[in-house]
């Protein structure tokens, strides 16, 4: 009865890898375009947007929280960058400023949740609304056109033949895995999600850790804000709308428990790869985007259902 946890996690990874391989095999027969390098790069490029947010989201959900405000952080980052670049600010300073403001935004979520004691769902539901509003007010509802070449490279450039967003994604995932697996902070994230009271009695600064995960989530969303603005060459006040749902979906498909304490970033990686593959496949197969939504929703239910039944067997 001992290595259950290990076995369960390994089985789950196998299942997810199997799903990925199955999609790839089926699609390479179904569509001649699928296996072309152009399409593959396209998939990964799409994945990188959701993937980076999902990394931050995994931290939050592992503590038992949720962050619905990531979409508005993307928007705020986007308009601030757009505005500053239009003013002729150096691209690096513009990025830095946008990220800093996002971090303050994340810290506000964290303080309200960890120190004031609000429900994560309610706080971030409020801040996503406020944040979107701020982005609209700030930009007067109009996008800023971005022409700064150095900035645009973040979304459009390459290192060798690899698009920069993909490099950023790999970097964020790697850092995330290292933090969760090898640092005390990572352990505390799991501990708080598992049992916040016990963690506190063991001397874990639970509030600080909780605050930090919301800052991390905002940081990830902000990075996505930069990539997205650079890719579409504009500071969009409506950028990032609905991104929280894809990120939560990726986390859930990856097997992270919504009540916290159990899960992994590797699972989340499988989660957003599957979501990306499914979206791309449906596009290639010319499936109406309305149906795509239905399929994605079913996918989440299926994933959570499998999770529950595998846990049910353990009892």
């Amino acid at each position: 009865m001992a290595k259950r946890k290990g076995k369960g996690a390994v089985l789950r990874s196998f299942a997810l890898v199997f799903v990925i391989i199955a999609i790839i095999i089926i699609m390479s027969f179904a569509s001649p375009v699928f296996m072309t390098s152009k399409n593959i790069i396209n998939i990964i490029r799409q994945i990188s947007i959701n993937g980076i947010i999902a990394v931050g989201m995994t931290f939050v959900i592992l503590t038992g929280g949720i962050d619905l405000s990531v979409g508005s952080v993307v928007a705020i980052t986007s308009v601030i960058c757009g505005y500053l670049l239009e003013q002729g600010t150096h691209w690096f300073l513009a990025c830095l400023a946008a990220i800093l403001i996002s971090l303050i935004f994340g810290a506000f979520n964290g303080v309200m949740i960890a120190y004031v004691g609000f429900q994560p769902f309610i706080v971030t539901l409020a801040t996503v609304t406020v944040g979107s509003g701020i982005a609209l007010v700030f930009s007067d509802g109009k996008p800023f056109t971005i022409k700064n070449e150095s900035f645009l490279a973040i979304g459009q450039g390459y290192v060798g033949s690899i698009p920069i967003p993909i490099i950023i994604l790999l970097f964020v995932v790697a850092i995330g895995i290292i933090v969760l697996k090898t640092t005390t902070f990572g352990r505390y994230v799991f501990a708080i999600g598992g049992n916040k009271n016990a963690a506190k009695l063991s001397g874990v600064r639970t509030r600080r850790v909780e605050l930090m995960v919301y800052v991390i989530s905002a940081l990830c969303a902000s990075i996505v804000g930069l990539i997205l603005s650079a890719r579409i060459s504009s500071g969009q006040p409506t950028a990032g709308d609905g991104y929280e749902l894809d990120a939560i979906a990726a986390t859930a498909i990856g097997g992270t428990s919504m009540s916290g304490g159990v899960g992994s970033l590797t699972g989340t990686v499988f989660g957003f790869v599957i979501l990306g593959l499914v979206t791309n496949s449906m596009n290639l197969l010319n499936i109406n985007s309305f149906y795509q939504q239905i399929v994605k929703g079913m996918l989440i239910i299926l994933a959570v259902f499998l999770d529950m039944t595998s846990k049910g067997k353990k009892r």
């Binding site: 946890k5 049992n195 009271n197 963690a199 506190k200 001397g203």
Partner: protein, 503 residues
């Protein structure tokens, strides 16, 4: 000839879970108006037996007869409808609903047939009738909200709920485990009342005194087997204990021979308004200080405030003669003041994580550098400590939630020991643990005193307080009402008197 009188009779029950035999030929019979106590160590199969009777588990073999008829319940609802109900150890009413609504949950009468409007008046009236009948109307009213009731009152609601199903058999799982003395007496009079009304009661308990006070007969289970059944007036506690453990119990508690040293820790004027007031205490190296009192006396609260888990309004902590500030449990851990909580589920362990992670989470000071965990060291040391506590496990990657109560407690102790405690606070160290594991924990406590650790043991079990403590402090109503040492500390009457708040 007595056979015919049994309301409920279970024979030859067997049950195994994934190859592990939990019950092997268990049996139990109960007559109308009888109280049949069921005893046995943790893991003896008492709960499984009850769950089979209640239809929560299906049996592998054997039979259950109700009023002479073979029955085979497939859900608790069926058992309830047939007149068997169970009052679980951990009660779970719906806090925002009233007593009446909880009693008739799922069976609310409708004002007009077919329309979903509940007839509240009727519910209240029926509940009140039952309360009157069982002489409980002075304790609870049908329109009280569950969240405003204490544990004893909640239990009364559960009992009323059970009788509202016209139950002929009521199973009570350690009903007194979280009741104060006074509340226990009320429960006992309710039980008398139930017996008079010919309800049969199966009473699971670890408390010998209760069994001898209440029961007509007592059955003992061990390792899933039926060991024996005896009339209470024909047996003795020693005999029952021997049946439970299957061997002669060697004389009582181990004796702490470690000489007491200097004062390690001193609390001065500890106050948290409305919870405890002006608490002063001292504890020496190598000493076991017993802290006792009735439930709600504020013992755990003082200790939780000491380690910075709960807030404190005023008071001083002096460690080795120097005042220290503890604002968060982290400060307590740094000062080697460690608390092993009574409540393993909510305060002691992270059940969803591994043994290793549970042990190390408190101790990264030594197991990490610059925020990075030294994994080989973590694994090695956690393994050492878990083994030192003789934790039964397949490996330290086992999920803590998969362990038995006794082994979970050992993991908690391993975590605490790794923090190199100078003062170790053990809150109810043996609650919910079987006899064998208890003895082991007592011996570990003596090992700790030999290392010069000062132990503050919070305990509600009188024999444990008397048997293990070098000195006893008694609390009542948030204040320390007495300090006993030597022979005085061996007198149950004196301790009880102080715990009740008198002089």
């Amino acid at each position: 000839m007595e056979d015919k009188k049994y309301v409920l009779e279970a024979t030859g029950l067997c049950k195994s879970f994934s190859g592990v035999t939990v019950l092997n030929g268990a049996e139990l019979s109960i007559a109308s108006g009888e109280l049949h106590a069921l005893m046995g160590e943790n893991g003896a199969g008492k709960s499984t037996l009850m769950k089979i009777i209640m239809g929560i588990y299906t049996k592998d073999a054997g039979q259950v007869c109700l009023n002479g008829q073979n029955v085979n319940f497939s859900s608790a609802r069926e058992a309830l409808d047939a007149g068997i109900s169970m009052i679980h150890q951990e009660l779970s009413p719906i806090p925002e609903m009233t007593v009446a609504e909880n009693v008739y949950l799922g069976r609310e009468g409708k004002k007009i047939k077919g329309l979903p409007f509940v007839n509240k008046k009727e519910l209240n009236r029926k509940t009140q009738e039952l309360l009157n009948e069982y002489e409980l109307s002075e304790f609870i009213r049908p329109d009280m909200k569950m969240k405003d009731l204490n544990i004893a009152q909640t239990q009364m609601m559960e009992i009323i709920k059970a009788v509202s199903y016209n139950s002929t058999v009521i199973i009570m799982d350690e009903p007194t485990s979280s009741l104060s003395e006074k509340e226990t007496n009320v429960l006992f009079s309710i039980i008398d009342n139930l017996k008079k009304k010919n309800v049969g009661i199966i009473y699971i308990s670890h408390r010998m005194e209760e069994v001898f006070l209440l029961a007509d007969r007592v059955s003992v289970l061990r390792d899933g087997k039926f060991i024996g059944c005896a009339r209470v007036d024909e047996t003795t506690p020693e005999e029952l204990i021997n049946m439970m453990v299957g061997r002669e119990l060697e004389g009582g508690y181990p004796i702490n021979t470690t000489p007491k040293g200097d004062v390690v820790l001193e609390l001065k004027h500890f106050t948290r308004k409305g919870v405890f007031e002006d608490v002063n205490l001292k504890v020496h190296t190598g000493e076991i200080l017993g802290l006792t009192g009735l439930v709600g006396a504020g013992r755990s609260e003082v200790m939780r405030a000491l380690v910075g888990y709960d807030p404190l309004d005023s008071g001083e902590v002096i460690l080795y003669g120097k005042p220290i500030k503890i604002k968060h449990p982290k400060d307590a851990v740094k000062n080697h003041i460690i608390m092993a909580s009574e409540d393993r589920k909510t305060l002691g362990l992270i059940l969803s994580r591994s043994i290793k992670e549970n042990i190390s989470v408190q101790n990264f000071e030594d197991l990490s550098s610059a925020g990075f965990i030294n994994k080989p060291k973590e694994k090695k040391i956690c393994c050492e400590y878990a083994e030192q506590m003789t934790t039964k496990m397949n490996g330290i990657e086992d999920v803590a939630g998969s362990l038995s109560g006794g082994n979970q407690q050992k993991v908690v102790l391993a975590k605490c020991m790794l923090s190199d405690p100078k003062v170790l606070i053990m809150d109810e160290p043996t609650r919910g643990i079987d006899v064998g594991a208890k003895a082991k924990i007592y011996n570990l406590m003596l090992e700790m005193t030999k290392l010069g650790i000062a132990i503050i043991m919070i305990s509600s079990e009188m024999p444990e307080v008397i048997g293990m403590s070098d000195r006893v402090l008694i609390m009542a109503g948030g204040k320390i009402t007495g300090e006993l040492e030597g022979e005085e500390a061996k007198s149950q009457q004196t301790i009880l008197k102080l715990a009740l708040g008198g002089n």
